[in-house]
Structure formats: C-alpha cells, structure tokens
Amino acid sequence: MKYLTDYSNIFTRYDLNIEVARQAARKVSKDELLQKVADSVVRGDDEESAKLTKEALQKKSPMDVINEGLIPGMNEVSRLWDEGVYFLPQVILASDAMNAGIALCEEAMGKAMDKKGKVVTHTAEGDIHDIGQVIVNALLNANGFEVINLGADVPVDKVVEACRVNNPVMVTGTALMTTTMTAFPKIASQLKRLGLNIPFVCGGGAVSEEYVTSFELGIWGKEANQAPGMAEDALSGDNWQAMRGKWNG
C-alpha cells in the first residue's frame, strides 16, 4: 500500500502542540515526614502512604497528618491535573493513597473525620453505565465531600428518600441512555414537592443541556471533573438557579 510521507494536509495533532511540560510536585509541608506522606499521595502509592501515615502517627496527631500531609498532597495532585500535567488515573490513584492514610488516622481518632458536606450520587433506573458516576464519586471524595453512593439502576423513590434522609448539599444523576434519563425530571419533581430544593446535577452519555435545564433543580454536568467545583458552589450556598447560571447556558 502506498503511504504519504507528509500528513499535514490530512490531520493536525493538536495534542502534541499543546503538550504540557513536565513539572515536579511542589513542596507542601514544612515537616519532613509529613512531606513524605504528601509525596506518597502525589505518587499514588497507597501502600507507601499507609506505611508513612503509621510512622507519622507515632509523632503527630491524626488531624495534623491529615491536614498537613494527606490533604495538601491531594491538593497538589488536583493542581497538576488542572494544569494538564496529570491524567485521571493519577488522580484516582492519589485519591486511593490519601484514603488509605485517612482510614488509619480515623482509626487512631476513633471517629470519622469531618467532611465538607454530603453529596448523593446515583445512576438512573434502567441504566447500568455508571463509570461516570464512579469517577464523580472518586473526585468528590478526593475533595473532602462525603459521598452517599446509591450505585446504578436506582429507582426514583430511592434517590428521593436518600435526599430526604441525608439532606445533601447536592445530588447527582448519571445516564448513558436518553430513555433512562427520563427518571431525572421525576426525581426533581418529587424533591420539589417535598420542599427539598437541592441542586440536581445530571450528566453522562446522551444527557443534554437542553433536557436537564428543562426542569426545575436541574443543572447540566458536561464533564465528571466539574463535580467538585459544583459541590463547592452548592456548599457555599448557591441555589440551583445560581449554579445553572454559572455552569450552563
């Protein structure tokens, strides 16, 4: 077969044009051991993170290990991702590493650490395509939110009940199919009826902005990585109208 020697008239590799220069993670702790804890999170090494956390807990309080090692490490990972240096798997592995350390700190404290707020997440009834939700869960968790994970193929009533019981700052819905996303306005309607005006972020697959913004409470989530920012807005008191105005349209 004949091959071209120059493909510049056929396609443009924009990804190579915008490749971000490699950069090292920044120093985030003044304490040498806690910096090592943070570094293990940045590397996404959960075994090393657990080992170093155990070591740090001999000398530091659990909250110091969390606030000066584990969380600053995760924040550094978020920065590297935001700047295009890291890919999603590196963020997920870092989240696993942070969680391994936090679990040990919580064990030492004898209680769970305080989270920023609760977010209920689910994938629509009749839909089993939940990898988007899995990513949303991991990112919310990595950013300090408590995730009430209802899983996939979740009936409308179960989502509404979880919102009633947990009073989350935000609820999310994922759907791949247009014929399953029809559950979303039903959920929104029931939440409204109960007086629960919780911002309801819907996204995934064929879920469109036009559809989600056609019902009250609905905010369209274009990408999973928007979830932490949206949850921060909800936590700060933005209502669904303000969030829709910021993220959609």
């Binding site: 071209l4 396609f11 590799r13 924009y14 991702w81 890919f87 798997p89 193929d153 014929t179 029809t182």
Partner: protein, 455 residues
C-alpha cells in the same frame, strides 16, 4: 470451545472491504461479505416513547420505516436495520419480540412492493451488571436469554454487547492497571462469553436466525471514549489501544462458539477478528459521529463488510428524520465503496481510507489492516488460554506503537506505554497463576463475584 489456531487471511493485503472468507446470506437475499458493502442503520427511540409497548412500537414503526422509505427514494439497494434494545425491550422480552415482528413485516412489504432487500438485527441489552447480579443466575439473566428467543423468531440476526468482567475493568481503567484489563476483559469477559454464546447460538439455530456477534463496547469502547480526542486527559490513548487489543481475546469467543457474523458494529476490534476468523464484519466510523467522536473515521472502513452509524436518536432534521438522513448518508458511503470495487479501484480506495487516519491516533494505527492482522497473528500464535492470547495481542500492539516513528506519541503517552509493557512482562506466564494472583488482588473490588464466572 476450541481456540482459533490459524489466520483466515494469509496477509493483510488479502483483506478488503465488502468481501469476507465466510459470507453470510439472509432470508431476503442479502449477502454479508459477498463482494459488496451493506449499510446498517441503528435508530434509537426518543425519550418518553419507552413508556408503553404501544408507544414504543409506534416509534420504531416510524423510525425503521423512514429508513426503508429513504432507501427507495434515493435508490439504495440494500439495508440492514439494527435495533439495540433499550432497557424496557429486554426487561419485557415480549416488547423486543413484537418490535422484531413488526419490522420484519415492514421489510417483507418493501421487498414485495419495491424489491428492496433488507434485514433486521435485534440486539437485546445485557442487563447483567456484574457487581449487581449473579451473571449466570438472576432475573436479568433470564430476561436476556428469553429476549433472544423472542427476537430470533422474526429477526435475521441477533447480537449482544456482553458485560462480563466490567466490574474489574471499571476499577482498572481509572487506575492505569493493565493486569486488571487483562483479567476483566480477556479472562472474565471470555469466560462469560462462552457461557452466554453457547446459549445464543443454540437459540438462533432453533429459530433459523443468524447468530451475529458481540462487542466489547462496555469496556474497550469505554477506554476509547475516555481517551477521547486531542483534548482529553482522562485515559492515555496508548492504554485504550492496548485495551482494544486485549478485548480481541474475548470478542472472538462468539465466533469460536458458532456465531457467524455480521459482527456487531461498535466492536472496533473487528478488523482483528476478521483477520483471524474470516467472518463478515460491521464497522462504524465517521458516520457514527451522531453518537460519539473517534479518531478512526475512515480507516475503520478499510476491511468492513457492513457500514454502520452506531445509533441515532429519532428526530426531525431539515432533510427528513434522522433515520432517513443517516440511511441516505450510509448508503452513499457504501455506494462509493462498491463503485470502487466494481471499477477495480478498491485497493486505491482502501489506501485513501487508511492514509486518512492510520497516523491520526493510536486506535487508527492499530486497526489499520496491516497492524490488525499482526495483532490477530499474535493472538492465534499464543492461543494456550484467554489470558495468553490477550496478553500477546496487547504486547504486539504495544511493540507496533513503539516501533513506528510515524505514529507520534506525546512524552506522557510514550512513557505510559513503556510502563504498561514493563508491567505485562512482569506478569505470570500461566493463566492459572495469573488468575490466582488476580483473585487475591481484586478480592475487594466492589461486587466482584468469582463464582459468577465459575472461578
């Protein structure tokens, strides 16, 4: 089940669009892989139409009917219509059967009235989410099997997008874990497919229906779409390409169990499958932009026998409804391909398709006929187990990507790929050892039930 041990094609040069070593004929006279390419349209119902069987029947009557009508309006001689079941059609198996019966009647009418040769592919939805149900013993499992029986009575072809290994795959793909992809896709996926496809083939035989094929849509396509285009930072393209090579080990199981093709359109691994099995394949590329973006819009057509659009929701457009419009587009695409065949220009046409995308990205590169054939060869040369052939296919794919300087890789993509190659080399040689390792490593993955795979 006997693993494939030889290539259907002696070289990639022999592979051409429109012709397969093992053509398949339908009851209305379509021949897949018989010398010309056939268009395949996949209508999807609008939200709200799924409420009742009556409303869904009406939706498909219009959507499928518009496609048939447009063929007559613009003179397309042949058409395959696929209905990928929405949840309700498989959850209520009678619904899928009624829609198949209705469409078969429409096709009979068009054949009688205009001489249009059409065929219907029914694709029940695999409702079995591995972390939520027992793959072999659940209500959803029974509904899927019953759905095949209902549809096979009327459909020309039945297919599925099976879900085996999805729980491990989802865990692994977002953790850069190549061992998890091999375990989820090649091993668990292959085991589940053998269990499922022996039943599908038996049902198809009983009703004189064609057992089409399977696709790793749930996994390799997830990887490909997460890798995305040139702006995505979710998954490295090199990992998505390895995932595609690995999945050939499980997708081929359908044909080893007796499926004959036409294969499932969204199985981008199909050029590899064709190189080994010789069954007619269905592919999708630029004409599936209505459903998703990919980086292999033309090259994926290079050896295809059926040309599809993945799925388009039924709506009005300026030029008619979406199913009519996309049928027209697909039909003209294959008219150009078929004209090249009849003029003797097919090699030149194929070269244009390949040059369009072979070096656009990793998927186009590995699915280019020459590389797809080499990956297929690695698969059959290492056919001791689902694991060994999946790993060999991935290693070959990696070697090809690293070995061709025309395929440009970013520093991150290249380093990632070198890491996966190193990880694969460090894995056990024997499948039994690999499974033992994985059963321990993934014991805590949410919902993983080894016994659902007979492990």
């Amino acid at each position: 089940m006997k693993f494939s041990s030889e290539m259907a094609y002696k070289s990639a040069d022999e592979m051409m669009f429109g012709t397969a070593k093992k053509p398949v004929k339908t009851k209305r006279g379509l021949v897949f892989g018989g010398g010309h390419v056939i268009p395949e349209i996949v209508p999807h119902p609008r939200p709200g139409s799924e409420k009742t069987m009556k409303s869904l029947l009406r939706e498909y009557e219009r959507a499928n009917g518009d496609a048939l009508e447009r063929c007559v309006i613009v003179g397309h001689p042949q058409l395959l219509i696929e209905n990928e079941h929405i949840f309700q059609m498989t959850h209520n198996p009678k619904w899928g059967g009624e829609i198949a019966a209705q469409t078969a009647k429409q096709m009979d009418d068009y054949l009688q009235k205009y001489g249009l040769k059409a065929a219907y592919r029914a694709t029940p939805a695999d409702l079995r989410k591995p972390d939520m149900v027992d793959m072999r013993d659940s209500d959803y499992t029974r509904e899927v099997i019953e759905s095949f029986a209902e549809c096979a009575k009327y459909a020309d072809v039945v297919s599925i997008e099976s879900m085996g290994g999805k729980e491990i795959f989802d865990h692994a793909i977002i953790r850069n874990d190549i061992a998890g992809l091999l375990f989820g896709q090649a091993v668990l996926g292959g085991i589940d497919m053998e269990w499922m496809w022996n039943q599908i083939v038996a049902i198809a035989k009983k009703y004189n229906c064609i057992a089409g094929g399977d696709t790793n849509c749930a996994e390799a396509n997830t990887a490909m779409f997460m890798a995305g285009g040139f702006l995505s930072k979710d998954v490295p393209h090199t990992l998505a390409a390895l995932s595609r090579a690995i999945c050939a080990s499980r997708t081929i199981v359908a044909y080893e169990c007796g499926a004959t093709g036409p294969t499932k359109d969204c199985a981008y691994e199909d050029p590899i499958i064709k190189s080994v099995t010789g069954v007619p394949i269905s592919c999708e590329g630029k004409t599936s932009a209505c459903a998703h973006a990919d980086l292999c819009g033309n090259v994926i057509a290079a050896v295809t026998d059926v040309w599809s659009n993945e799925a388009v929701e039924y709506h009005d457009m300026f030029g008619g409804t979406t199913t009519a419009v996309f049928t027209e587009i697909l039909g003209y695409d294959v008219a150009a391909m078929n004209a090249s065949i009849d003029l003797g220009y097919q090699k030149e046409f194929q070269a244009c398709l390949v040059n369009s995308d072979k070096y656009r990205g990793c998927h186009g590169f590995m699915l280019s006929p020459d590389n797809a054939w080499q990956i297929g060869k690695a698969l059959v040369d290492n056919n001791e187990s689902l694991y060994s052939r999946g790993k060999a296919a991935a290693m070959k794919c990696g070697e090809l990507m690293l070995g061709d300087p025309k395929l440009k890789l970013s520093v991150f993509e290249k380093e990632s790929l070198e890491g996966y190659m190193k990880d694969m080399k460090a894995l056990p040689d024997k499948e039994a050892d690999f499974i033992d390792m994985c059963l321990k490593k993934y014991a805590k993955v949410k919902g993983f039930q080894p016994k659902a795979y007979g492990l």
